[in-house]
């Protein structure tokens, strides 16, 4: 019981200031490698495309592109941190967008307020998430399979509702509001920022967030600590569904349509962003900041590619290589942060 016995003091970083050490160990700094990767990417963009890359308009374009998949990815971060996975995000988004743009909904929205369309989208998303959560928590279906089933089911339903046609948003207020800007930033970028900040607070500052880590890290320990693991799991999937509803509203504003093809393969993009951001696919460790970085890296990448007029195949190969480099960079910094 010598004071040193049980917990040796954390070894000091050789030649590093205390502040630096602290930063390296904090959640944000585990993403240092990613920040560097993103900066490198921007440098490449600036060198190859100059002002076309560095212009305000282009930055806004990147942000707008990042917004929709960003919101989806933040919901995904919660699910993955809690030890699950959600393959149905794209399909839920599609279903929400279709449902919110049906004739009936739009008629109602025109009669009362466009907020009805928004509520519809959010409700549909949350309801799908609820089904996912119930199947997984109480039906004990593996998340991969349950959400795969939801992927097939929700997209099929979206097709049936829409008759495989693209539905145009005709409620003027809706597009004006969500397609507009506020203080120079597009509304949907604001929404992304809000969801990201709210997600960060929820994950890092609330009991809900702590319990998410516990459920994902060691579900049995969480249960023994008196946490209602099943109920919490359901909440996580509802949250993911809700994020898809929000993303559906954003995409509806951006494309002025609802369609059963919206969000195709978003599940892969979102999981990729989350995982590259540093969230463990096995649960228990997650970072919203990393996810946002992951999303930014992917969107900036495709922007830089397009600015440089690269062929799609070359883009694909380059993307593969860059992903690996980014992760190796991150790894380097992460291990240095823990082993220093």
């Amino acid at each position: 019981m010598t004071s040193e016995g049980v917990a040796r003091p954390e070894p000091a970083v050789v030649g590093g200031s205390n502040y630096f050490q602290k930063a390296m160990n904090s959640g944000g700094a585990r993403s240092l490698g990613l920040v560097i990767a993103l900066i490198l990417l921007c440098v490449v963009g600036m060198i190859t495309a100059g002002d076309r890359f560095a212009s305000t308009a282009n930055v806004l374009t990147i942000l707008r592109l990042a917004a929709v998949i960003g919101v989806v990815s933040i919901g995904m971060t919660f699910v993955i941190t809690g030890g699950g996975i959600d393959l149905s995000v794209g399909a839920m988004l599609a279903l929400a967008s279709v449902w919110a743009t049906t004739l009936a909904t739009q008629q109602m929205a025109r009669d009362y307020h466009w907020i009805l369309m928004v509520s519809t989208a959010l409700l549909v998303g949350a309801a799908c998430g609820l089904i996912n959560g119930l199947l997984i928590a109480y039906g004990r279906v593996v998340p991969f399979i349950a959400t795969l089933a939801m992927l097939a089911g929700a997209r099929g339903l979206a097709e049936i509702i829409a008759g495989r046609m693209t539905q145009t948003v005709k409620v003027p207020g809706f597009v004006d509001f969500f397609g507009g800007s506020f203080l120079g930033l597009p509304t949907i970028v604001w929404m992304f920022a809000l969801v990201a900040v709210a997600g960060w607070v929820l994950l890092n500052r609330t009991t809900f967030g702590r319990r998410t880590f516990a459920v994902g890290g060691n579900a049995e320990a969480a249960r023994l600590a008196g946490i209602k693991v099943q109920r919490h799991t359901v909440a996580l999937y509802v949250l993911a569904g809700l994020c898809c509803g929000i993303a559906a509203v954003m995409l509806m504003a951006r494309t002025t349509t609802g369609s059963s093809t919206h969000g195709t393969l978003y599940e892969l993009d979102a999981i990729a962003a989350v995982v590259i951001g540093g969230t463990l696919l096995s649960g228990g460790r997650g970072t919203i900041f990393g996810t946002v970085l992951g999303v930014m890296i992917f969107t900036t990448l495709s922007n830089v590619f397009t600015l440089n007029n690269l062929s799609i195949s070359a883009q694909s190969v380059a993307k593969g290589v860059i992903i690996v480099i980014a992760v190796l960079l991150q790894q380097r910094f992460a291990t240095r942060a823990t082993s220093s």
């Binding site: 019981m1 016995g5 049980v6 917990a7 009991t207 516990a214 890290g217 023994l224 008196g226």
Partner: protein, 501 residues
């Protein structure tokens, strides 16, 4: 002291193929330390899991404060003031110490965790446990096992419980830590808190316990025995159904010309240990003594190749080992029974026999194809010899009790016919009977020419079993010599003061 807090009667718990509890009775009074004794697999952990709401019993009643209670979940038990320190550390590795302590009952406002409060209260609790040096903000996964045990304790205390259940809390603690734990327990009982205490170390029972309940094969065989007065032989007889000589087997003199099997030279790893060197001859048992955190496990892991040495060499039978490669060490004839058996040794979902044969697969294979009958037979033989219970080599290891899991790990290396056997806390969580058998086994192995390196937090065990002893303090050897040249007090002095001999 006398008011009855809890009464369990006729508790039955059936698992697939095993009746873990078969009519257990237990009564606990406030302010007492009630000890649960029983062999490995007797059902102690299962009983307390029933009591803490983690398992639902098939039959039986639980009465708390005179009212019948039913625990559908751990939360129900906690509401009645029952807190538990589980045998398997039940912490979330990626959360901080403070977050773990208050997990499930975080002080919060509108859902926002009050982080200053949980950090402050955790610091207080840790200080009360004598471990103010553990930073509440540290990730639990970065703490050694003993530190995690302290966190588990802090967590139980954070609940303001009336009954605290401790399932083998001393297993990962050294003697200093155990003394500290007892101080805490006494503080609790003075305030009227009841403690259910499980341990395989009878001397601890004698020191801290008030009354004893003995379980055997899932049933109560004796209850309410006075802890101080009941003779040890009687307790052992109740537990095992026979009497066991609880002594160390006699040493046999090692011939001075016995060949050196394991030689370690100048082994160092920065911030873990420095310049460690020793030789172990065939038939010799070398004991490493030291406090928790003195680097004993790291030394074993390094010479086994699981960690890469910064400097230094390891020789087996005169041949230098390739550093940092476990496979090379295993091929050279080294075996390691690691400290954390669940995370480092066992394939929990695999059957017993597969866990035993995993390091000797080549022996059972012709051109890569396994002879599973031979595998099973070999495993069967070993589990019978080691008395692993319940019998049956096809059971998943996960469902074995802690002590029996340890035997499975030992069986793995017995099967391989090692030249060198590294044992890190081999008797942790092992019952008295099995412990005596493990001692006998280690001696028998040594006599058959194996070089054994033994790490144990029980100084008595190191001194009783080893031929030669190395005492470590903060990663440095402060004593090295024959076991009969040093006694328990001297060892404790050395590890505390570090006066170089």
């Amino acid at each position: 002291m006398s008011s009855e807090l809890l009464r369990m009667t006729g508790i039955v718990k059936q698992f697939p193929g095993v009746r873990a509890l078969d009519g257990v009775d237990l009564d606990v009074r406030s302010g007492e330390v009630h000890c649960l004794l029983g062999q490995n697999g007797a059902g102690k952990s299962t009983l307390i899991r029933v009591l803490s709401g983690a398992h639902q019993p098939d039959q039986g009643t639980i009465v708390v404060d005179g009212n019948e209670a039913s625990f559908g979940s751990p939360a129900d038990a906690m509401k009645l003031g029952i807190a538990t320190i589980y045998q398997e550390l039940d912490l979330v590795q990626d959360l901080t110490v403070a977050e773990n302590v208050f997990l499930g009952h975080e002080p919060a406002r509108f859902g926002f965790t009050n982080r200053t409060e949980i950090v402050g209260r955790t610091r207080e609790l840790l200080r009360g446990l004598g471990h103010g040096e553990i930073p509440p903000g540290r990730r639990v996964g970065a703490l050694p096992a003993a530190g995690q045990q302290v966190v588990s304790m802090a967590r139980a205390l954070s609940r303001d419980a009336r009954l605290i259940i401790m399932d083998e809390p001393s297993a990962v603690l050294d003697s200093e830590e155990v003394a500290n734990l007892f101080r805490v327990i006494r503080g609790l009982t003075e305030r009227g808190v009841a403690v259910v205490y499980i341990s395989h170390r009878l001397e601890e029972i004698r020191e801290i316990g008030d009354r004893v309940t003995v379980l055997k094969d899932g049933a109560t065989v004796a209850t309410g025995l006075p802890a101080k007065e009941t003779p040890t032989t009687e307790l052992i007889r109740l537990m095992t159904g026979r009497s066991i000589e609880y002594v160390f087997p006699p040493r046999r003199a090692i011939p001075p010309d016995a060949e050196v099997v394991l030689k370690v030279e100048g082994l160092s790893r920065p911030r873990e240990f420095e310049n460690i060197g020793f030789e172990v001859r065939a038939g010799e048992v070398l004991g490493l003594a030291g406090l928790v955190g003195s680097g004993r496990s790291e030394i074993l892991e390094t010479l086994y190749g699981a960690r890469r040495a910064a400097t230094g060499e390891v020789y087996v039978d005169g041949r230098r080992l390739r550093p940092g490669q476990v496979a090379a060490a295993v091929r050279a004839g080294i075996g390691l029974a690691p400290e954390e058996r669940k995370s480092q040794a066992l394939l929990l979902d695999e059957s017993v026999y597969r866990n035993i044969t995993v390091s000797s697969l080549a022996r059972f294979a012709t051109t890569g194809f396994l002879n599973r009958r031979a595998e099973r037979d070999a495993a069967e033989e070993l589990t019978t010899a080691l008395d692993v219970r319940p019998a049956g080599v096809d059971r998943p290891v996960r469902n074995l009790s802690g002590g029996n899991q340890q035997k499975v790990v030992l069986a793995r290396w017995l099967l391989r016919d090692c030249r060198v056997l590294l044992l890190d806390e081999p008797t942790r969580g092992v019952d008295v009977g099995a412990r005596a058998e493990i001692y006998a086994l280690v001696r028998r192995l040594a006599e058959s020419g194996v070089a054994v390196v033994l790490v144990s937090s029980e100084v008595e065990e190191v001194l009783g079993l080893a031929d030669r002893v190395v005492v470590l303090r903060e990663g440095r050897a402060v004593f090295s010599g024959p076991a009969d040249e040093i006694d328990e007090h001297r060892v404790l002095d050395l590890v505390m003061e570090g006066s170089v001999v």
